[in-house]
């Protein structure tokens, strides 16, 4: 069973639709910690405000996720779902992230190298510096385009599986063992996005 965690942070329809299109049979949209604990795979989507992640703590989903990933359940965070894997975000300093990866998510700067930088970062941007050992990005070449829409971003670190350039480099994908995240929307990134989801389903 694949548990899609619903924490009222935007629309989950597209993610569920894409997973089913790729042949996933047992996809459950849930707010139950028990479902998270018994799931074969966990997906945490989300396109809203970082403060929505407070609900994960309130419903006991943070604890359940921590336990599930400790016992090697594959986990994929999408957009805010990736950001939640870090210590937190300046978007909502009062809401703690999972802290699985070090660092804090920050807003794009208003200017970069002397030019105004529009925010949110919306549109198709390329994946760079793809880590050769990434299981999530297997078969995806450097320069492949994926679709983004976000104003906050995660820092680049040793766990970064691919970077994207916009006002400097940020983490496009993060991966350490069974815990993974993508800042872009694989469910909206045409063939490249479907390949990412296919890779995750194959874990």
């Amino acid at each position: 069973m694949i548990a899609i965690i619903d924490y009222k942070a935007g629309n989950l329809t597209s993610v569920v639709k894409a997973l089913r299109f790729l042949g996933a049979k047992d996809v459950v949209v849930t707010q139950s910690p028990q479902d998270v604990l018994r799931a074969d795979k966990i997906v945490l989507p989300g396109v809203g405000h970082f403060r929505s992640t407070q609900l994960l703590e309130d419903l006991g989903l943070t604890k359940a996720t921590r336990e599930a990933v400790r016992t090697d359940t594959p986990f994929l965070g999408i957009c805010v779902g990736l950001q939640w894997l870090y210590a937190g975000s300046t978007e909502a300093p009062e809401a703690a992230g999972l802290g699985h990866f070090a660092g804090e998510c920050e807003r794009f700067p208003a200017t970069f190298e002397g030019h105004d930088l529009k925010s949110p970062h919306v549109g198709w941007n390329s994946l760079e510096n793809i880590r050769a050992d990434s299981r999530l990005l297997a078969g995806i070449g450097p320069g492949s385009f994926v679709y983004y829409t976000h104003s906050w971003r995660a820092p680049v670190s040793a766990d970064t599986a691919a970077a994207t350039m916009y006002g400097g480099a940020f983490t496009a994908a993060v991966e350490r063992d069974n815990v993974m995240g993508v800042q872009f929307h694989p469910e909206k990134s045409a063939e490249t996005g479907l390949q990412v989801l296919k890779n995750f389903l194959a874990l």
């Binding site: 935007g10 329809t13 809203g48 405000h49 919306v122 549109g123 941007n125 909206k188 045409a190």
Partner: protein
Amino acid sequence: MLTKRIIACLDVRGGRVVKGVQFVDIVDAGDPAELAHRHARGGADEIVLLDITATHEGRGTLLETVKRTASELFVPFTVGGGIRSAEDAAAVFDAGADKVSINSSAIARPELIGEIGASFGAQAVIVAIDARRMKGASDPVGEAEVFVSGGRKPTGLRVIDWAKEAEQRGAGEILLTSMDTDGVRGGFDCELTRRVSEAVQIPVIASGGAGSAAHFAEVFLVGKADAALAASIFHFGVTDSRALKAEVAAAGIPMRLPC
């Protein structure tokens, strides 16, 4: 590198894609779901479906059409027309849209922008503005006026002021349609697009007037648009996005290629 987006727009009336010139003279161009998939396969970066008669005729959005179109469409999909409340928006998202475009209803009740954003995120709310230059004014572009109800009603609002207010209220993008250039295929209103794009921080999608690759290149370079939308240029086999994008890229604009 962030690329400029080419967006294929499907104007839908009574469940069929139609195309008008300056908002009138409607001709049939096919089935929405079939055309959306053809555009996505052809390299369009996004698909927009506008139910152009929903507000006018007081109908709800064609949820069945949205559902059918959204199934197996894996690029961003925006739906507009007849969305008057956060509940209307929720129904459209449920049917498979990723973003909604609101126009007349946002003018009537600007709080709607924030209400939809609160539930679905600011990125999911596009405020569409139908604009007409103020002829005879000392600054016809700066004083360009917002029209509603499919371009039927003037509002007295200035386009630039309304774009800024929409941003402040939490819009994720602005879809700016020039009624002066719409459907004529003579090029976008680059001056109006530039003025709006410079006035706001959020992405601006230019619309109205696409007739050639040079027009797209111009609206990206001169108009400072983040995306450009077109309808009739793609219908009836005039061109597909992939060929169009190759031409635009040759003019030095970053495009998603191959796609």
